[in-house]
Amino acid sequence: MSQNPDTLVQLQGVSKRFGSVVALDDLDIDIKAGEFVTFLGPSGCGKSTTLRILGGFEKPDTGRVILDGEDVTRLPPNKRKVNMVFQDYALFPHMSVAQNIDFGLELKGMSVSQIEARRQEVMSFLELDEFGSRYPDQLSGGQRQRVALARALAPDPALLLLDEPLGALDAKLRSQVQQELKAIQRRTNTTFFFVTHDQDEALTMSDRIVVMNGGKVEQDGTPEDLYLRPASRFVAEFIGETNLLNGHCLGMEGDEVVIDWLGTPVRARAGGLQPIKGSKVTCSLRLEKLGCVPSRSGSEMGIPAHIANKVFMGSRTAVTVSVDAAPEVLLRAYVDAEMAIGSVGDAVQIDWDSANLALLRQ
């Protein structure tokens, strides 16, 4: 088994079913040391099962889990250099913050003075210094979240698992904690395996996002890749908002595909896909990438359309347009709030850069 020296975790052909439900279907994933990887998907997509298999709380039906070159597939949680931040933190209610943090250190067999030193280090790192003698029920949600993080980081795990740790926080605190988490990950250089169903969390924090659906990987890439170049319809719809353009393939031109869309030939980025000529294809176009300007008489730029709806959203205006060639086809665009786009029923021209029209896997 050849292995990249940077690779910390390998999941090889991991499958898991619960009764008749397939939670994971032959998953192969490598995680590099120091990476912030997010598993993103709706509930039941297999992201939590992957996390629990990495933590040792579930055994895969088939496949292997390699951690730091060692096969840990059958190893119980207490024998793994993996720690977890639980969804509702699971802080021990009968122990103070300091005792919670010490728990893992004591079980590592560290001496009292080592434990003391490490606890102080972690607590000052997470700005918990004055909370050592408090009990979990005397802390706010954000403080508890930091204690849970401190407890999991204290034993210096090779891999830190985070199971939707921001779910219990209110929206304002959440965005602040997102930044903190990312900063902590960078400073500790610990590999983070983060599980969430929240696309914003995934996009803002991750080095790499793995989108899961039905126990399989839909797409694996950087946040930019996923947002700007979604590979499948599922990813395009799950992350951000998008317009889906359905058409027929006319042929390939370099790494672009030419599509007959409502009688107009348009180009889209193929992204390695090679659809058969004449086959049905779907492309994704992000709302902010769809240009929309008022029609001027005699202008030949873009595709003619009419405004079907308009919603002022503060920083921008969301415009829904109905394409003249097929009035039942509605596309949405974001335009500058101060642009005089016109009112409902006015004619507009729409266009886009072919690089932003991404061909989706069927």
């Binding site: 040792g56 207490n78 728990f103 029920d137």
Partner: protein, 262 residues
């Protein structure tokens, strides 16, 4: 609720309180009467009867004996009851419902029947009537209460406490002793006090299995046969006060466990 029904309900409640507490307070009052004859009118008051109780070596030693039995049987009940509760609260297995019903059964079998059954069984096993036999019978009777309380407490414990402990390096035994047991502590205290009171209060099993050494209720019963004396009122009053204090404390600690978990 209308005003009228509210008043009616209050009256019914007040009547109930009188009904329950008048006999008890009669008994307490008579313990302070300076006369051997129980009844009104009371001409003068005294603490003599209490003095006699504390000087009566028989009463005092029997009291100590009862406490010893209560503590012994409570410890056994807690050990076995917690053990069964943890077994039952785990994952479902074949026969779980059966074990649960059998565990609860001793609590609902009439005392006289279980006492006779114990007496016969003890003879078969060659256990002499006496302290061990009483402790054994009390423990069996009290285990169901421990199981019910501990199972209820365990069902409120998030499973991820154990997972968090395992994740931080604890093997199953360490996770149990350092996380599960402390979580169960308030429930065990509450159940323990309840067991102490049940055992201390028990007459039937103590009478059948006690041999020649009586527990306090058995002693009071035998004293009654030689006639009602205010000394018995004094003993009873002391017992009421002690059990009430313990009972209230137990009830409070049980209530606290539903709130804060510490």
């Amino acid at each position: 609720m209308t005003g009228k029904t509210r008043i009616l309900m209050s009256l019914i409640y007040a009547a109930f309180v009188v009904y329950v507490f008048v006999p008890l307070s009669m008994m307490v009052v008579m313990g302070f009467k300076d006369s051997k004859f129980i009844g009104f009118p009371i001409k003068s008051w005294t603490l003599d009867w209490y003095g006699r109780v504390f000087q009566d070596t028989e009463v005092m030693s029997v009291f100590g004996y009862s406490v010893l039995i209560a503590i012994g049987s409570t410890l056994v009940s807690l050990l076995i009851g917690t053990w069964i509760a943890v077994l039952l609260a785990g994952r479902k297995f074949f026969g779980r419902a059966l074990i649960f019903s059998l565990t609860i059964l001793p609590a609902v079998v009439p005392g006289i029947i279980s006492a006779i059954a114990f007496r016969i069984y003890a003879r078969l096993l060659g256990i002499e009537p006496g302290m061990m036999a009483v402790i054994w019978a009390h423990a069996v009777h009290n285990v169901p209460f421990v199981v019910l309380v501990i199972v209820a407490r365990l069902s409120t414990m998030p499973t991820n406490y154990i997972e968090a402990a395992r994740d931080l390096g604890a093997d199953p035994l360490v996770a149990f002793t350092r996380v599960t047991l402390p979580y169960l502590r308030p429930a065990m205290i509450g159940a323990g006090i309840f067991c102490l009171l049940l055992s201390f209060d028990d007459f039937v099993r103590s009478y059948f299995l006690g041999g020649y050494q009586p527990t306090l209720p058995v002693l009071i019963f035998s004293k009654l046969r030689s006639g009602m004396s205010p000394e018995i009122n004094a003993i009873s009053t002391i017992v009421i006060v002690l059990t009430a204090v313990l009972g209230v404390w137990a009830e409070r600690s049980m209530r606290r466990m539903n709130g804060a978990s510490r």
